[in-house]
Amino acid sequence: MSATAHLDWIGPYDSRLNGAFRLGFEVDGGRMYGVEVQTGFSSRGLEGAIEQRDWSMTVALAGRLDPDASFFGEWASSLAIESLMKIDIPPRARALRIAAAELSRISSHLRCLAMMAREAGSLPVYHYCLRNRERFLDLLENWTGSRFNLHFCRPGGVARDLTDGVLEKAVQECESIVARVREINDLMTYSAVFMERTRRLASLDRAECQQAGITGPMARACDVLLDARADPLGKLGYKDLEFAPAQGRGQGRGDVHDRFVLRVREVLQSAELVRSVLADLPEGSSWNERARGKFLVPSGEALGVVESPRGMLACYCASEGKSTPARMHFRVPSSAGFGVLPSLLEGVTLQDLSLVLHSLDLSAVEADR
Protein backbone atom coordinates (compact mmCIF):
# COMPACT_ATOMS: atom_id res chain seq x y z
CA MET A 1 0.00 0.00 0.00
CA SER A 2 1.46 3.38 -0.93
CA ALA A 3 2.25 6.04 1.68
CA THR A 4 -0.46 8.26 0.27
CA ALA A 5 -3.23 5.66 0.14
CA HIS A 6 -5.02 7.21 3.11
CA LEU A 7 -5.56 10.47 1.20
CA ASP A 8 -8.74 11.37 -0.64
CA TRP A 9 -7.82 11.84 -4.29
CA ILE A 10 -9.66 13.83 -6.90
CA GLY A 11 -8.81 14.04 -10.59
CA PRO A 12 -7.26 13.81 -13.08
CA TYR A 13 -10.62 14.79 -14.57
CA ASP A 14 -12.72 16.60 -12.02
CA SER A 15 -14.88 19.69 -12.35
CA ARG A 16 -13.19 21.24 -9.31
CA LEU A 17 -9.77 21.17 -10.99
CA ASN A 18 -8.67 23.51 -13.76
CA GLY A 19 -6.80 20.86 -15.74
CA ALA A 20 -5.81 17.22 -15.83
CA PHE A 21 -3.96 16.53 -12.58
CA ARG A 22 -4.65 14.71 -9.32
CA LEU A 23 -4.97 16.27 -5.93
CA GLY A 24 -4.74 14.19 -2.76
CA PHE A 25 -5.63 15.53 0.68
CA GLU A 26 -7.09 14.78 4.06
CA VAL A 27 -10.23 16.65 5.04
CA ASP A 28 -10.80 17.94 8.54
CA GLY A 29 -13.67 20.29 9.25
CA GLY A 30 -14.10 20.94 5.53
CA ARG A 31 -10.47 22.06 5.17
CA MET A 32 -7.72 20.33 3.23
CA TYR A 33 -4.50 19.17 4.86
CA GLY A 34 -1.47 17.14 3.74
CA VAL A 35 -2.06 18.10 0.11
CA GLU A 36 -0.21 16.22 -2.61
CA VAL A 37 -0.22 16.86 -6.35
CA GLN A 38 0.32 14.46 -9.24
CA THR A 39 0.81 15.79 -12.75
CA GLY A 40 1.79 14.18 -16.04
CA PHE A 41 -1.64 13.19 -17.37
CA SER A 42 -1.44 15.56 -20.35
CA SER A 43 2.06 14.67 -21.50
CA ARG A 44 2.28 14.76 -25.29
CA GLY A 45 6.03 14.36 -25.76
CA LEU A 46 6.03 17.80 -27.33
CA GLU A 47 9.75 18.51 -27.02
CA GLY A 48 10.64 15.10 -28.49
CA ALA A 49 8.25 15.76 -31.38
CA ILE A 50 9.81 19.17 -32.00
CA GLU A 51 13.30 17.66 -32.11
CA GLN A 52 12.19 15.45 -35.01
CA ARG A 53 10.88 18.31 -37.17
CA ASP A 54 12.88 20.56 -39.43
CA TRP A 55 13.62 24.09 -38.26
CA SER A 56 10.79 25.80 -40.09
CA MET A 57 8.24 23.48 -38.45
CA THR A 58 9.52 23.65 -34.87
CA VAL A 59 7.92 26.98 -34.07
CA ALA A 60 4.44 25.87 -35.11
CA LEU A 61 4.69 22.91 -32.72
CA ALA A 62 6.11 25.11 -29.95
CA GLY A 63 2.84 27.03 -30.10
CA ARG A 64 1.05 23.91 -28.85
CA LEU A 65 2.80 24.30 -25.51
CA ASP A 66 -0.07 26.29 -24.06
CA PRO A 67 -3.31 26.20 -26.06
CA ASP A 68 -4.64 29.31 -24.29
CA ALA A 69 -1.68 31.46 -25.27
CA SER A 70 0.03 29.73 -28.16
CA PHE A 71 1.77 32.89 -29.35
CA PHE A 72 4.25 32.83 -26.48
CA GLY A 73 5.67 29.37 -27.22
CA GLU A 74 6.13 30.47 -30.82
CA TRP A 75 7.76 33.71 -29.71
CA ALA A 76 10.22 32.11 -27.24
CA SER A 77 11.36 29.49 -29.75
CA SER A 78 11.64 32.09 -32.53
CA LEU A 79 13.85 34.25 -30.30
CA ALA A 80 16.13 31.30 -29.55
CA ILE A 81 16.41 30.37 -33.24
CA GLU A 82 17.03 33.99 -34.28
CA SER A 83 19.76 34.22 -31.65
CA LEU A 84 21.42 31.08 -33.07
CA MET A 85 21.15 32.42 -36.61
CA LYS A 86 22.43 35.81 -35.41
CA ILE A 87 19.66 37.61 -37.25
CA ASP A 88 17.74 40.67 -36.17
CA ILE A 89 14.11 41.22 -37.05
CA PRO A 90 12.76 44.40 -38.65
CA PRO A 91 11.31 47.01 -36.23
CA ARG A 92 7.84 46.53 -37.73
CA ALA A 93 7.93 42.80 -36.99
CA ARG A 94 8.99 43.52 -33.41
CA ALA A 95 6.07 45.92 -32.97
CA LEU A 96 3.58 43.48 -34.50
CA ARG A 97 4.83 40.73 -32.18
CA ILE A 98 4.22 42.98 -29.17
CA ALA A 99 0.71 43.79 -30.40
CA ALA A 100 -0.14 40.11 -30.96
CA ALA A 101 1.37 39.13 -27.62
CA GLU A 102 -0.61 41.71 -25.69
CA LEU A 103 -3.85 40.81 -27.47
CA SER A 104 -3.21 37.16 -26.53
CA ARG A 105 -2.45 38.20 -22.96
CA ILE A 106 -5.75 40.10 -22.71
CA SER A 107 -7.63 37.09 -24.04
CA SER A 108 -5.88 34.74 -21.59
CA HIS A 109 -6.39 37.03 -18.59
CA LEU A 110 -10.06 37.53 -19.44
CA ARG A 111 -10.52 33.76 -19.46
CA CYS A 112 -8.86 33.53 -16.06
CA LEU A 113 -10.99 36.37 -14.67
CA ALA A 114 -14.12 34.73 -16.10
CA MET A 115 -13.35 31.43 -14.40
CA MET A 116 -12.65 33.17 -11.09
CA ALA A 117 -15.92 35.09 -11.40
CA ARG A 118 -17.81 31.86 -12.07
CA GLU A 119 -16.29 30.17 -9.02
CA ALA A 120 -17.03 33.24 -6.89
CA GLY A 121 -20.66 33.10 -8.02
CA SER A 122 -20.64 36.30 -10.04
CA LEU A 123 -22.25 35.11 -13.26
CA PRO A 124 -22.64 38.57 -14.87
CA VAL A 125 -18.89 39.17 -14.64
CA TYR A 126 -18.28 35.65 -15.96
CA HIS A 127 -20.39 36.44 -19.04
CA TYR A 128 -18.91 39.93 -19.49
CA CYS A 129 -15.36 38.57 -19.42
CA LEU A 130 -16.13 35.77 -21.87
CA ARG A 131 -18.04 38.15 -24.17
CA ASN A 132 -15.07 40.49 -24.33
CA ARG A 133 -12.62 37.64 -24.70
CA GLU A 134 -14.58 36.49 -27.76
CA ARG A 135 -14.04 39.92 -29.32
CA PHE A 136 -10.28 39.64 -28.83
CA LEU A 137 -10.30 36.11 -30.22
CA ASP A 138 -12.28 37.37 -33.25
CA LEU A 139 -9.67 40.06 -33.69
CA LEU A 140 -6.83 37.53 -33.60
CA GLU A 141 -8.75 35.39 -36.09
CA ASN A 142 -9.17 38.34 -38.46
CA TRP A 143 -5.50 39.08 -38.26
CA THR A 144 -3.77 35.69 -38.05
CA GLY A 145 -6.46 33.38 -39.44
CA SER A 146 -6.72 31.44 -36.21
CA ARG A 147 -8.20 31.90 -32.73
CA PHE A 148 -5.99 29.69 -30.58
CA ASN A 149 -3.04 28.06 -32.37
CA LEU A 150 -1.99 31.22 -34.14
CA HIS A 151 1.08 30.02 -36.13
CA PHE A 152 1.86 33.69 -36.40
CA CYS A 153 5.35 34.23 -35.00
CA ARG A 154 8.16 32.80 -37.12
CA PRO A 155 11.94 33.05 -36.97
CA GLY A 156 12.69 36.27 -38.82
CA GLY A 157 9.43 38.07 -38.16
CA VAL A 158 5.72 37.44 -38.29
CA ALA A 159 3.72 35.36 -40.75
CA ARG A 160 1.32 38.12 -41.72
CA ASP A 161 1.33 41.90 -41.66
CA LEU A 162 -1.77 43.76 -40.50
CA THR A 163 -4.76 42.90 -42.65
CA ASP A 164 -7.50 45.34 -43.66
CA GLY A 165 -9.38 46.82 -40.73
CA VAL A 166 -7.41 44.99 -38.04
CA LEU A 167 -5.57 48.06 -36.80
CA GLU A 168 -8.79 50.05 -36.37
CA LYS A 169 -10.59 47.11 -34.72
CA ALA A 170 -7.68 46.49 -32.33
CA VAL A 171 -7.63 50.14 -31.24
CA GLN A 172 -11.41 50.11 -30.84
CA GLU A 173 -11.41 46.93 -28.72
CA CYS A 174 -8.56 48.21 -26.56
CA GLU A 175 -10.50 51.42 -25.93
CA SER A 176 -13.73 49.59 -25.15
CA ILE A 177 -12.08 47.20 -22.68
CA VAL A 178 -11.46 50.16 -20.36
CA ALA A 179 -15.22 50.63 -19.94
CA ARG A 180 -15.68 46.87 -19.53
CA VAL A 181 -13.08 46.75 -16.78
CA ARG A 182 -14.98 49.50 -14.98
CA GLU A 183 -18.05 47.21 -15.05
CA ILE A 184 -16.00 44.31 -13.68
CA ASN A 185 -14.63 46.50 -10.90
CA ASP A 186 -18.08 47.85 -9.99
CA LEU A 187 -19.71 44.44 -9.92
CA MET A 188 -16.99 42.31 -8.44
CA THR A 189 -13.43 43.48 -7.82
CA TYR A 190 -14.22 45.80 -4.94
CA SER A 191 -17.49 44.23 -3.79
CA ALA A 192 -17.50 43.53 -0.05
CA VAL A 193 -18.63 39.92 -0.52
CA PHE A 194 -15.84 39.07 -2.94
CA MET A 195 -13.20 40.87 -0.86
CA GLU A 196 -14.37 39.17 2.33
CA ARG A 197 -14.05 35.76 0.71
CA THR A 198 -10.76 36.25 -1.13
CA ARG A 199 -8.61 38.49 1.08
CA ARG A 200 -5.97 36.42 2.92
CA LEU A 201 -7.12 33.32 1.03
CA ALA A 202 -4.23 31.12 -0.22
CA SER A 203 -1.73 33.91 0.25
CA LEU A 204 1.91 33.69 -0.65
CA ASP A 205 4.64 36.05 0.49
CA ARG A 206 7.38 37.59 -1.59
CA ALA A 207 10.19 35.43 -0.17
CA GLU A 208 8.29 32.15 -0.70
CA CYS A 209 7.47 33.26 -4.18
CA GLN A 210 11.05 34.06 -5.15
CA GLN A 211 12.44 30.91 -3.56
CA ALA A 212 9.99 28.72 -5.43
CA GLY A 213 10.84 30.36 -8.76
CA ILE A 214 7.28 31.63 -9.21
CA THR A 215 6.91 34.20 -11.99
CA GLY A 216 4.12 36.04 -13.77
CA PRO A 217 0.95 37.53 -12.25
CA MET A 218 1.22 35.19 -9.26
CA ALA A 219 4.61 36.73 -8.39
CA ARG A 220 3.66 40.31 -9.25
CA ALA A 221 0.61 40.03 -6.97
CA CYS A 222 3.16 39.45 -4.17
CA ASP A 223 5.04 42.62 -5.23
CA VAL A 224 7.84 40.77 -7.00
CA LEU A 225 8.56 43.05 -9.93
CA LEU A 226 9.73 40.23 -12.15
CA ASP A 227 8.62 40.63 -15.74
CA ALA A 228 10.55 39.65 -18.86
CA ARG A 229 8.97 42.62 -20.64
CA ALA A 230 10.87 44.92 -18.28
CA ASP A 231 14.17 43.14 -18.99
CA PRO A 232 16.93 45.78 -19.12
CA LEU A 233 18.50 43.82 -22.02
CA GLY A 234 15.35 44.75 -23.94
CA LYS A 235 15.33 41.89 -26.44
CA LEU A 236 11.53 41.88 -26.68
CA GLY A 237 11.25 45.51 -27.73
CA TYR A 238 9.24 46.88 -24.79
CA LYS A 239 12.05 49.26 -23.82
CA ASP A 240 10.77 52.06 -26.06
CA LEU A 241 7.28 51.71 -24.60
CA GLU A 242 8.51 52.66 -21.11
CA PHE A 243 6.96 49.53 -19.70
CA ALA A 244 6.84 49.03 -15.91
CA PRO A 245 5.42 45.82 -14.39
CA ALA A 246 2.04 45.99 -12.66
CA GLN A 247 2.25 45.26 -8.95
CA GLY A 248 0.12 44.27 -5.99
CA ARG A 249 -0.85 46.21 -2.91
CA GLY A 250 2.73 46.78 -1.80
CA GLN A 251 2.39 44.58 1.28
CA GLY A 252 4.77 41.86 0.15
CA ARG A 253 1.98 39.25 0.11
CA GLY A 254 -0.45 38.16 -2.54
CA ASP A 255 -3.81 36.44 -2.00
CA VAL A 256 -6.64 35.44 -4.33
CA HIS A 257 -7.99 38.99 -4.38
CA ASP A 258 -4.57 40.45 -5.23
CA ARG A 259 -4.23 38.03 -8.12
CA PHE A 260 -7.63 39.04 -9.47
CA VAL A 261 -6.83 42.76 -9.17
CA LEU A 262 -3.42 42.30 -10.75
CA ARG A 263 -4.88 40.60 -13.81
CA VAL A 264 -7.46 43.34 -14.16
CA ARG A 265 -4.62 45.89 -14.09
CA GLU A 266 -2.65 43.89 -16.63
CA VAL A 267 -5.59 43.79 -19.01
CA LEU A 268 -5.66 47.61 -18.95
CA GLN A 269 -1.89 47.78 -19.25
CA SER A 270 -1.85 45.42 -22.23
CA ALA A 271 -4.63 47.41 -23.94
CA GLU A 272 -2.55 50.56 -23.49
CA LEU A 273 0.53 48.81 -24.88
CA VAL A 274 -1.40 47.68 -27.97
CA ARG A 275 -2.68 51.21 -28.55
CA SER A 276 0.77 52.77 -28.20
CA VAL A 277 2.55 50.22 -30.36
CA LEU A 278 -0.04 50.43 -33.14
CA ALA A 279 -0.16 54.24 -32.99
CA ASP A 280 3.53 54.40 -33.82
CA LEU A 281 3.93 51.38 -36.07
CA PRO A 282 7.23 51.46 -37.99
CA GLU A 283 7.09 51.25 -41.78
CA GLY A 284 8.86 48.56 -43.77
CA SER A 285 8.93 44.80 -43.98
CA SER A 286 7.70 42.46 -41.26
CA TRP A 287 10.11 39.71 -42.22
CA ASN A 288 13.86 39.10 -42.36
CA GLU A 289 14.47 37.36 -45.69
CA ARG A 290 17.30 35.24 -44.26
CA ALA A 291 14.74 33.04 -42.52
CA ARG A 292 12.57 32.45 -45.60
CA GLY A 293 11.63 28.86 -46.62
CA LYS A 294 13.64 25.91 -45.29
CA PHE A 295 16.58 27.41 -43.48
CA LEU A 296 19.53 25.90 -41.62
CA VAL A 297 20.64 26.97 -38.19
CA PRO A 298 24.36 27.09 -37.32
CA SER A 299 25.73 25.07 -34.40
CA GLY A 300 25.35 26.56 -30.96
CA GLU A 301 22.86 27.04 -28.20
CA ALA A 302 20.61 29.91 -27.13
CA LEU A 303 17.83 30.80 -24.73
CA GLY A 304 14.75 32.76 -25.74
CA VAL A 305 12.76 34.28 -22.87
CA VAL A 306 9.31 35.87 -23.03
CA GLU A 307 6.63 36.86 -20.52
CA SER A 308 3.59 34.68 -21.14
CA PRO A 309 0.26 35.36 -19.38
CA ARG A 310 1.21 32.74 -16.77
CA GLY A 311 4.80 33.90 -16.22
CA MET A 312 8.30 33.61 -17.57
CA LEU A 313 8.55 31.20 -20.48
CA ALA A 314 12.04 30.24 -21.67
CA CYS A 315 13.06 28.11 -24.62
CA TYR A 316 16.49 26.50 -24.71
CA CYS A 317 17.49 25.55 -28.21
CA ALA A 318 20.63 23.68 -29.28
CA SER A 319 21.73 23.13 -32.85
CA GLU A 320 24.41 20.87 -34.34
CA GLY A 321 24.06 22.46 -37.76
CA LYS A 322 21.64 19.75 -38.94
CA SER A 323 18.15 20.07 -40.37
CA THR A 324 16.49 19.49 -36.97
CA PRO A 325 17.18 20.91 -33.48
CA ALA A 326 19.53 18.84 -31.31
CA ARG A 327 17.51 19.85 -28.28
CA MET A 328 14.60 22.10 -27.51
CA HIS A 329 13.55 22.39 -23.89
CA PHE A 330 11.07 24.79 -22.32
CA ARG A 331 10.95 26.36 -18.90
CA VAL A 332 7.24 26.72 -18.31
CA PRO A 333 5.84 28.97 -15.57
CA SER A 334 3.18 26.50 -14.44
CA SER A 335 5.79 23.97 -13.20
CA ALA A 336 6.86 26.23 -10.33
CA GLY A 337 3.19 26.90 -9.52
CA PHE A 338 2.46 23.19 -9.16
CA GLY A 339 5.51 23.00 -6.86
CA VAL A 340 3.96 25.38 -4.30
CA LEU A 341 0.41 24.05 -4.64
CA PRO A 342 0.61 21.68 -1.61
CA SER A 343 1.65 24.44 0.79
CA LEU A 344 -0.72 26.95 -0.75
CA LEU A 345 -3.78 24.70 -0.42
CA GLU A 346 -3.02 23.75 3.20
CA GLY A 347 -6.05 24.71 5.29
CA VAL A 348 -8.11 25.93 2.30
CA THR A 349 -11.77 24.89 2.44
CA LEU A 350 -13.12 22.55 -0.21
CA GLN A 351 -15.61 25.19 -1.35
CA ASP A 352 -12.73 27.59 -2.11
CA LEU A 353 -10.60 25.01 -3.92
CA SER A 354 -11.71 25.88 -7.46
CA LEU A 355 -11.48 29.60 -6.81
CA VAL A 356 -7.92 29.27 -5.53
CA LEU A 357 -6.87 27.03 -8.42
CA HIS A 358 -8.30 29.43 -11.00
CA SER A 359 -6.58 32.37 -9.28
CA LEU A 360 -3.23 30.63 -9.82
CA ASP A 361 -4.00 30.04 -13.52
CA LEU A 362 -1.78 26.97 -13.73
CA SER A 363 -1.89 24.94 -16.90
CA ALA A 364 -1.37 21.20 -16.56
CA VAL A 365 -1.09 20.94 -20.35
CA GLU A 366 1.78 23.41 -20.33
CA ALA A 367 3.52 21.82 -17.34
CA ASP A 368 3.27 18.30 -18.78
CA ARG A 369 4.15 19.24 -22.36
Binding site: Q210, Q211, A212, D223, L226, E301, L303, M312, S335
Partner: protein, 112 residues
Protein backbone atom coordinates in the same frame (compact mmCIF):
# COMPACT_ATOMS: atom_id res chain seq x y z
CA UNK B 1 36.75 31.22 -6.34
CA UNK B 2 37.56 32.13 -9.95
CA UNK B 3 36.04 35.61 -9.77
CA UNK B 4 37.77 36.97 -12.85
CA UNK B 5 36.74 33.95 -14.92
CA UNK B 6 33.13 34.43 -13.82
CA UNK B 7 33.24 38.10 -14.79
CA UNK B 8 34.71 37.11 -18.16
CA UNK B 9 31.93 34.56 -18.75
CA UNK B 10 29.30 37.18 -17.90
CA UNK B 11 30.84 39.62 -20.38
CA UNK B 12 31.31 37.07 -23.18
CA UNK B 13 28.04 35.17 -22.66
CA UNK B 14 29.97 31.88 -22.82
CA UNK B 15 29.04 29.09 -20.36
CA UNK B 16 31.20 28.99 -17.24
CA UNK B 17 32.47 25.41 -16.62
CA UNK B 18 32.16 24.12 -13.06
CA UNK B 19 33.26 20.80 -11.57
CA UNK B 20 30.32 18.88 -10.06
CA UNK B 21 31.84 18.95 -6.57
CA UNK B 22 32.21 22.76 -6.79
CA UNK B 23 28.68 23.36 -8.06
CA UNK B 24 26.83 24.07 -4.82
CA UNK B 25 29.59 26.30 -3.41
CA UNK B 26 29.73 28.26 -6.67
CA UNK B 27 25.93 28.55 -6.78
CA UNK B 28 25.83 29.78 -3.18
CA UNK B 29 28.50 32.38 -3.91
CA UNK B 30 26.79 33.61 -7.07
CA UNK B 31 23.42 33.97 -5.32
CA UNK B 32 24.82 35.75 -2.26
CA UNK B 33 27.43 37.98 -3.94
CA UNK B 34 26.13 41.57 -4.11
CA UNK B 35 27.99 42.16 -7.36
CA UNK B 36 26.07 39.44 -9.20
CA UNK B 37 22.82 38.75 -7.25
CA UNK B 38 22.08 35.62 -9.30
CA UNK B 39 18.87 34.88 -7.40
CA UNK B 40 16.86 33.59 -10.32
CA UNK B 41 17.48 30.17 -11.82
CA UNK B 42 15.96 31.03 -15.15
CA UNK B 43 16.31 27.62 -16.72
CA UNK B 44 17.98 24.30 -16.11
CA UNK B 45 18.49 21.87 -18.92
CA UNK B 46 20.67 19.00 -20.03
CA UNK B 47 22.01 18.11 -23.42
CA UNK B 48 23.93 15.07 -24.66
CA UNK B 49 27.38 15.90 -25.95
CA UNK B 50 30.33 13.61 -26.77
CA UNK B 51 29.04 10.71 -24.67
CA UNK B 52 28.48 12.91 -21.61
CA UNK B 53 25.66 14.97 -20.21
CA UNK B 54 26.10 18.72 -20.15
CA UNK B 55 23.91 20.27 -17.49
CA UNK B 56 23.31 23.97 -18.01
CA UNK B 57 22.13 26.40 -15.33
CA UNK B 58 20.91 29.70 -16.79
CA UNK B 59 21.15 32.35 -14.08
CA UNK B 60 19.78 35.84 -13.95
CA UNK B 61 20.53 38.74 -11.63
CA UNK B 62 17.57 40.02 -9.61
CA UNK B 63 17.20 43.28 -7.70
CA UNK B 64 15.85 43.71 -4.18
CA UNK B 65 12.22 43.79 -5.40
CA UNK B 66 12.65 40.94 -7.83
CA UNK B 67 13.26 43.09 -10.90
CA UNK B 68 15.57 41.67 -13.55
CA UNK B 69 19.15 42.96 -13.64
CA UNK B 70 21.24 42.96 -16.82
CA UNK B 71 23.72 40.28 -15.75
CA UNK B 72 23.27 36.72 -16.99
CA UNK B 73 25.49 33.69 -16.54
CA UNK B 74 25.33 30.09 -17.68
CA UNK B 75 26.98 27.45 -15.52
CA UNK B 76 28.00 24.27 -17.29
CA UNK B 77 28.55 20.96 -15.49
CA UNK B 78 29.72 17.93 -17.48
CA UNK B 79 28.88 14.55 -15.98
CA UNK B 80 28.99 10.91 -17.07
CA UNK B 81 25.88 8.70 -17.29
CA UNK B 82 26.26 7.13 -13.86
CA UNK B 83 27.29 10.27 -11.98
CA UNK B 84 25.31 11.78 -9.12
CA UNK B 85 24.83 15.49 -9.61
CA UNK B 86 24.76 17.75 -6.54
CA UNK B 87 21.36 19.37 -6.18
CA UNK B 88 21.13 23.17 -6.16
CA UNK B 89 17.81 23.13 -4.29
CA UNK B 90 19.46 24.52 -1.17
CA UNK B 91 20.38 27.67 -3.11
CA UNK B 92 17.45 27.89 -5.54
CA UNK B 93 14.53 25.84 -4.10
CA UNK B 94 12.64 26.36 -7.36
CA UNK B 95 15.27 24.19 -9.04
CA UNK B 96 13.53 21.09 -7.64
CA UNK B 97 11.01 20.96 -10.49
CA UNK B 98 13.75 21.42 -13.09
CA UNK B 99 15.95 18.71 -11.54
CA UNK B 100 13.02 16.30 -11.50
CA UNK B 101 12.52 16.88 -15.22
CA UNK B 102 16.21 16.43 -15.99
CA UNK B 103 16.25 13.19 -13.98
CA UNK B 104 13.35 11.81 -16.02
CA UNK B 105 14.95 12.85 -19.30
CA UNK B 106 18.53 11.75 -18.66
CA UNK B 107 18.36 9.16 -15.89
CA UNK B 108 20.81 11.25 -13.85
CA UNK B 109 20.36 11.38 -10.11
CA UNK B 110 20.49 14.59 -8.10
CA UNK B 111 21.82 14.23 -4.58
CA UNK B 112 20.58 16.47 -1.79
Amino acid sequence: MQLEEIRRSIRSGQPHPVEPEQLVATARFLASCEEFRFLLLQHLTCVRSKGEWRILYWLRGQGARGELLPQTLTLEVDVSDDARVPSVQAVWPGGAQHEKEIAVRSGLEFSA
